[in-house]
Symmetry: C2
Subunit: 189 residues, 2 copies
């Protein structure tokens, strides 16, 4: 749900501009392949070709297939988050609107369904799924924690994330602004 969901990030954070540029290109190429052709298209060969780099370069920075998937998810999840104002209702509706954009307009719902499926047979993907869930919870718990106990905030976060995730993955119906406001108001109580 954010730009920062990373399991084992590539190990070049003191970043040379060329490396940063490579990562941006690879992230975009991997994200577009994931969205347009599906999970199995995100291979070293396809990403190298789409991003315009050698396979050796891609392997050097992203040795495992999952490293490329993480970049693809980061591309799809990249969106500026709402700066909390302290107004619970307003902050919650704003962040839910961003969450809907990422899930529906960026197509993340579809690939999260694939991730949920494949994580059941891959510990590596289960770890990645857990990091994404933790990131989403952190985001919403931060908003709720200003007004609720830690325990209440955890439940509130599960309610809002879960409902929007379910509507986006299990139904084809559009998620209207009214629905988001309805979810927020019911969870705030």
């Amino acid at each position: 749900m954010s730009t920062t969901a990373t399991t084992s990030p590539p190990s070049h954070e003191r970043v040379d501009p060329r490396v940063r540029r490579t990562r941006t290109d690879v992230r975009r190429a991997a994200g577009e392949l994931l969205l347009e052709e599906g999970w199995d298209a995100v291979t070293h060969a396809r990403v190298a070709s789409a991003a315009g780099y050698s396979r050796a370069t891609i392997y050097a920075h992203w040795p495992r297939p999952i490293d490329l998937l993480i970049e693809a998810f980061n591309h799809l999840g990249a969106i500026p988050h709402h700066e909390p104002t302290g107004d619970l209702r307003q902050d919650l509706i704003a962040e839910l609107t961003i969450f809907r954009t990422v899930l529906v307009d960026h197509g993340l719902a579809r690939v999260l369904a694939t991730l949920a499926d494949r994580a059941t047979t891959s510990p590596e993907l289960a770890e990645f799924r857990d990091s994404i869930v933790a990131e989403g919870n952190r985001l919403f718990e931060t908003i709720f924690c200003q007004h609720q106990s830690q325990e209440q905030a955890r439940l509130s976060s599960a309610l809002v994330l879960g409902t929007v995730f379910y509507l986006a993955t299990m139904t084809d119906e559009p998620i209207s602004d009214d629905t988001l406001v309805g979810i927020a108001d019911r969870v705030i109580g």
Copy 2:
């Protein structure tokens, strides 16, 4: 989520006991294959072999691969539902407890994630997914409708179904009784 989720049911409802027996055997074999070996194991050949019938028999009653998947889901979702008492909180907690059993203990969460994934590229599976969602909504809306407007009941149903579905498909953490009670109490308000 129930024994009755069927898209294009096999057309032999005035049922001869042998046919009923065949269906029970096929349903169980298909459900066990789905759970133990995954979606791609639910083929006419494998189901025929596991259930102890000829492939011709299986093809005669379940001509399409999706017909076998529907039987498999029906097997995993088969559970007696709670008879509503009219006490909203009690009825809701009872039905959520059954929903958790089906998702977690019967393993339906895993195959619903696969269904969400595959429905994005198959209109036939999207239709089946929609029938399952409609069945789940019907079940929970019936409980809420005794106490809420139709519109409120729809939202309540999405909140409870969505939250439990999300916890079961996107996390490995057990869903405790306290969590179910917390969800119920927050949605009832």
